[in-house]
Subunit: 373 residues, 3 copies
């Protein structure tokens, strides 16, 4: 599926953001993730729970049911399930078949988000992206963390990943919301550390501009400034910037002044629809609520512009998208590396080989049926 | 197609309710039934007529045409057809090919409804469900008959049949509209008489409850009460209750007091959409219009709740429904028997054998083309 | 595809109307034609331009971009294309691959319309329909030309062609807007001159009727009158009438009085959707704006009635349309000839033979991908 030639649209053996911590409580919330119809709630003790969302009796969505203590009661015939997905009561039956259960999904609550493990088998906690360096650890430390709007993006997640991996679009898509962004047109440096991939554009020893002055009034007159994209996982990308350092008297990079991060989480609802979460973090003026409000409002505008562009592309891409005919240029290198990386993740799961060589087994439709356990 | 493994979604050699008697008159009414695009009207003498709804000349829907006496005039080029479907006039042609005709469907008007025979060949009048025992005969006799709302159910008819064959859902889906219904959670007795199948729950020699007192103030203090589902045909199910008898002094079932029936007709528009008709009958307080109004209003609420549940299931069932993985329990026995019965009807029509054994010829798409005659 | 059995839904080696001259200017207009996603604009010198509408970099629709002088700037990463479709600037790249281009479509502006050549290779100017005889030449001459409404017809173009080739429908579809039209029910004469095909109904030496009196008050008392359909190309049909001549004293056709033309251009957006353009021309009372206004308003009503009928047919035709079962009558001869003619055009393009004989290679999906060049 454009723009990745692989037997599945996205990897499943991953942690994805299921929602913000605030979204889940003592009401049943339904959300489709990677094609699976899920429901979320919290136990009375506050633990988040994710279950397959359809009753195994007659397929009634639990969304129309209710909570009783820590259990879900189906709204059709009253079948009741524990937070572990085990059927614990059938009003018309003494006996309960052990087959009467639904899948329970491992969750981890960390910082502003609840993450869900969508892989088969036990969760691989090493794969949970460690973004403590930008304030998303269990303890935010020196960082101010602001949750912004969630978008219901009617487009495949990979279009959003492509978008974020090439910030040269700032100068066009966002010219009305962020102003001219010459830095975005610089040739980037690409760095790689394991599966983490960075695309960095740096201006060295320049006079600080108006936006830096506004954000960091204490910054020195001459600065280094960076615009970064850090790919943490197929579920998490940080588009940071400006990151600001003072210049030393001889023009080298001096002391750090501050970092502003626009953090994006993309969770496929299905092949052509994506839950798009946003968080801003910064390590300066942490107590300034007005600044948080202003940056969040601007971020909503910026992401709205991306949503418009990506949804326009989604509408044509199934019919006209052909990876082999794509024209790519230098600044696409980061996005292309990430596509290759994600393709490798998918192929590792599906045992396939894709376009390069050997044939592969066609993967089952994502979540075409409730996985066996 | 879930929940019946058979080569067609429903049997065709059946009578279905085409509409209420009041719906059809001297205007052309279009309605899709079993995938066939039909039009209905009444002759000047009042006889209901059902014709294939598309002109064989250039496929114009007759719905956009008009009536001239007992004939339908196509709104495109004026081709005119008799109530028997024969082309009787072409404005630009003296000659009329005998091939210029449309199928005419046999109708029977009985009680509140007009029934249509959707089978090939001559109608089998023995298959018209005889529901005179609950007031739907040509003469209602001792019964008060009230027509309730028609729903355009966006779900397959079989989901509605499943629903009605297991009234334990009363205690959950309808808890807000009918209150707690302990009787619905009793183990039912299942009876079978030919193709008619009954599921009955009975409470024996109990004090009359508030609803019985409200309905039948003359009922004795101690009563027998029954909640019944009677499957008459794939097109007609009665969900009756309460049916009330007085207790004899020694607690046996005594004299009948009254019966209230909620009668449901389900007519597939196509594989995923159903015309859902309702009628209430009762053999007590027949002249009490206020009681009719109250019961009809409650019935509309109750059926609205079912429509919500069934449409939620329909949305997931194509993707996630798998009969072999369904968890069934004791009170599903009635519904499962009816599924088997309907499956046998479909297999008898299609000459197939389904999942159990021999292969079958794939049935043609229902009404993919106008049947030959 | 109904009603033509051929490997493609329409011929591509043709000129089609892309839009009215007024529609195109210094804003980018997106329009799908024959399945191709196109954009239109005018250069600063006023020349109309048509380009493939998706950026070859990452498929962004140019509709969301902007014009800079005579060039289109993609709204995503700023790739810029000349009016000839050549990429002339990439903000982040010095080098521009010659493969970085989009198809440019030949246009001809003539009279009220801009025509587009949708064929592969160089445009065949001989195929541009010459409709100067009804006022659509580069110079209208003696004709008054009025552009009427453009309809976004949700139906295949061939249904509209069928409709226009058999004007007997005037007496039914348009009975409310044009009144009784006995002339439309006469047997027509069919004439053929190359690929141009005429269907003419004539009344000879009759008293002039009310409508002729209204239109042409100077017409003699006895007239000849004609209702014509002239098929110019799969893109252009004139439904002219009345055309009026005076009778000679011995009842022969005398001097011409006037001609009124209802000219229809049908441009497939895709297989099931058509841009439907209208123009009225007449060679009498050319300066009478009130008459133009009245005729245009009536024409909008008439074409609205056709749109309603054709969209109703489109909804059923995929499921129920079967050319082999169609009932046709004498006045269908013109439409059937045109179907054969269009079928031959399609087969000549696709190298196929269709239903009559030899097998053919299945044509590629219309514009499934951007044509190579």
């Amino acid at each position: 599926m454009y723009p990745i030639d692989a037997p599945a649209p996205y990897p499943r053996e991953q942690w994805y953001v299921a929602g913000t911590a605030q979204e889940f409580g003592r009401e049943i919330v339904a959300r489709q993730i990677l094609g699976d119809p899920l429901v979320f709630y919290r136990t009375e003790a506050g633990e988040p729970v994710a279950l397959w969302g359809l009753c195994p009796h007659r397929l009634m969505p639990f969304e129309l049911g209710s909570l009783r203590d820590d259990e879900v009661v189906c709204g059709y015939h009253g079948f009741t399930f524990s937070a572990q997905g085990k059927c614990v009561s059938i009003p018309t039956s003494e006996q309960i078949s052990p087959a009467c259960r639904v899948r329970s999904y491992p969750l981890v609550e960390r910082g502003p988000w609840v993450w869900i493990w969508m892989g088969e088998g036990a969760p691989d906690h090493d794969r949970l992206p460690d973004a403590s360096d930008i304030g998303l650890g269990a303890d935010p430390g020196e960082w101010r963390v602001d949750v912004t709007r969630t978008f219901d993006l009617q487009a495949r997640a990979q279009l959003l990943i492509d978008n974020l991996m090439d910030l040269s679009h700032l100068a066009f898509v966002h010219v009305n919301s962020v102003g001219p962004a010459e830095i975005a047109l610089l040739q980037p440096e690409i760095t790689r550390d394991g599966d983490r991939l960075g695309v960095t554009r740096t201006t060295t020893d320049v006079p600080r501009d108006g936006f830096v002055t506004f954000l960091m009034p204490d910054a020195p007159d001459r600065i280094w400034s960076a615009l970064v994209t850090d790919f943490y996982s197929p579920a998490l990308i940080n588009a940071g910037g400006p990151w600001v350092w003072g210049s030393t008297p001889d023009g080298a990079r001096g002391e750090a002044v501050g970092k502003l991060n626009f953090i994006h989480a993309m969770t496929p609802a299905g092949p052509n629809r994506t839950h798009y979460f946003g968080v801003l973090t910064r390590n300066f003026r942490q107590d300034d609520d007005a600044l948080s409000g202003m940056l969040s409002a601007q971020n909503d505008m910026v992401r709205d512009e991306d949503v418009t562009a990506l949804e326009a592309i989604e509408k044509v891409v199934d019919r006209y998208g052909d990876i082999r005919r794509e024209i790519s240029v230098k600044p696409d290198a980061g996005a292309l590396s990430v596509r290759r990386l994600i393709r490798k993740l998918i192929l590792a799961e599906t045992g396939g080989a894709g376009e390069d060589g050997a044939s592969y087994e066609r993967a089952p439709e994502p979540a075409a049926a409730q996985p066996s356990w």
